[in-house]
């Protein structure tokens, strides 16, 4: 479980105007007995204080028994990288998304904040000795090989904010998209990645889908995060502050949805769980239990949780949300 690491008071923070930069990201492992341990820590984390948006280690996956970690936007040496976590305890850089996005320009002369690279979610592709990952900044699905080669697996529309990615029926990969900015209600979608590297919408009319998963029957589950309160004023994106905490992202509105499979489409859906607070990740266990991370953004330190649901796959269509 990747932990962003919001707790800057524990470490000296380097602050630029509007940002807090601190190495407090971590990967935490919990075993079946409930014992937890830190696999790695001191990973880069950045908090943009005005919006409350943060970036940090974002995804974890395994190949050949080795853990790989994806890091998102940030300002440390390990930001925007695919890292291999070997037994030495020191992460090895497998792929450098910052350098890839800079397209050969010398990094010492470019502000990292001007480079569009923010890897978010990752799945392994062991047959091709590579990983596939979404890049929320460039709006593309990338591939990164164990040989460090990065490629654009699927270009999408400009600045589509892409989020979760998962392997679905027939081994195809699917990814979620918030839409282009601003993310209005119903503008989100799930895309299917075709083997020839194109992408097609397979489920639309969603609102900020942030993660997805499939059960054994091929039914699609997606976490809808929360509608963002922002709008475009001219060419400037502005947050709409409406509540007492001046938070443009309303909490406790996250929902878990399930869609029945009909051939290659998922059209009829239902709300399984509602009232989730800033859900960020979704994963099926081998026993069909479903794991959801909540308080994954805009939340106080130590408030994050991973919840395990049992029996959700047995919910009948038409049953009221939990």
């Amino acid at each position: 479980m990747v932990k962003a690491g919001k707790n800057p008071e524990n470490q000296p923070a380097e602050s630029n105007p509007g940002t807090v930069i601190v190495n407090s990201g971590a990967l935490t492992c919990v075993d079946l007995a409930g014992q937890r341990r830190r696999v790695i820590e001191n990973l880069p984390y950045v908090l943009y204080t005005e919006s409350g948006v943060s970036a940090s280690p974002t995804g974890v996956a395994e190949m050949d028994g080795t853990l790989y970690l994806l890091t998102g936007e940030g300002y440390g040496d390990l930001s925007r990288k695919l890292l291999r976590l070997g037994t030495s305890g020191t992460p090895q850089v497998v792929a450098d998304f910052l350098k890839f996005a800079a397209q050969g320009k010398p990094l010492e002369y470019i502000s990292p904040s001007s480079i569009e690279a923010n890897p978010y979610a990752i799945i392994p592709d062991p047959a091709n000795r590579r990983f596939s990952m979404t890049d929320g900044a460039s709006g593309q699905v990338l591939s990164a090989g164990l040989n460090s080669e990065i490629g654009v697996f699927s270009p999408t529309e400009d600045h589509l904010v892409v989020t979760g990615i998962a392997r679905g029926p027939v081994g195809l990969a699917y990814f979620a998209s918030f839409s282009q900015l601003p993310h209005s209600a119903g503008a989100g979608a799930i895309y299917r990645l075709q083997p020839e590297s194109s992408a097609a919408v397979t489920l639309g009319n969603l609102t900020t889908p942030i993660a997805l998963a499939f059960d054994r029957a091929g039914r699609l589950y997606t976490l809808q995060s929360t509608p963002l309160r922002m709008h475009l004023k001219g060419c400037v994106l502005e947050f709409i502050y409406t509540d007492a905490e001046a938070n443009p992202y309303p909490g406790k509105t996250g929902r878990l949805l399930r869609f029945e499979r009909q051939s290659d489409d998922w059209s009829s859906g239902q709300v399984l769980v509602e009232g989730l607070t800033y859900p960020t990740a979704l994963l099926f266990g081998s026993d069909d239990s479903l794991y959801v991370s909540v308080y994954g953004a805009f939340s106080p330190a130590d408030s994050g949780r991973v919840i395990r649901f049992v029996g959700l796959a047995d919910r009948k269509p038409g049953q009221s949300p939990f």
Binding site: A4, P57, V60, A281, Y291, G296, V306, R308
Partner: protein, 47 residues
């Protein structure tokens, strides 16, 4: 005395009816448990 007993029985029946109604109205959902807490903005998961 007889009237009081009748009223008591009616009261008990009414109480049972209310309890049964509440039980039916309570949403029945899947079991869930927290497997990890005290985290800071958790994101990716892997099993």
């Amino acid at each position: 005395m007889l009237e009081q007993r009748k009223l008591s029985r009616l009261g008990i029946i009414a109480l049972l009816f209310i309890l049964a109604s509440c039980s039916q109205a309570r949403p029945v959902g899947p079991a869930y448990q927290t497997v990890l807490d005290k985290l800071d903005e958790p994101h990716g998961l892997w099993l």
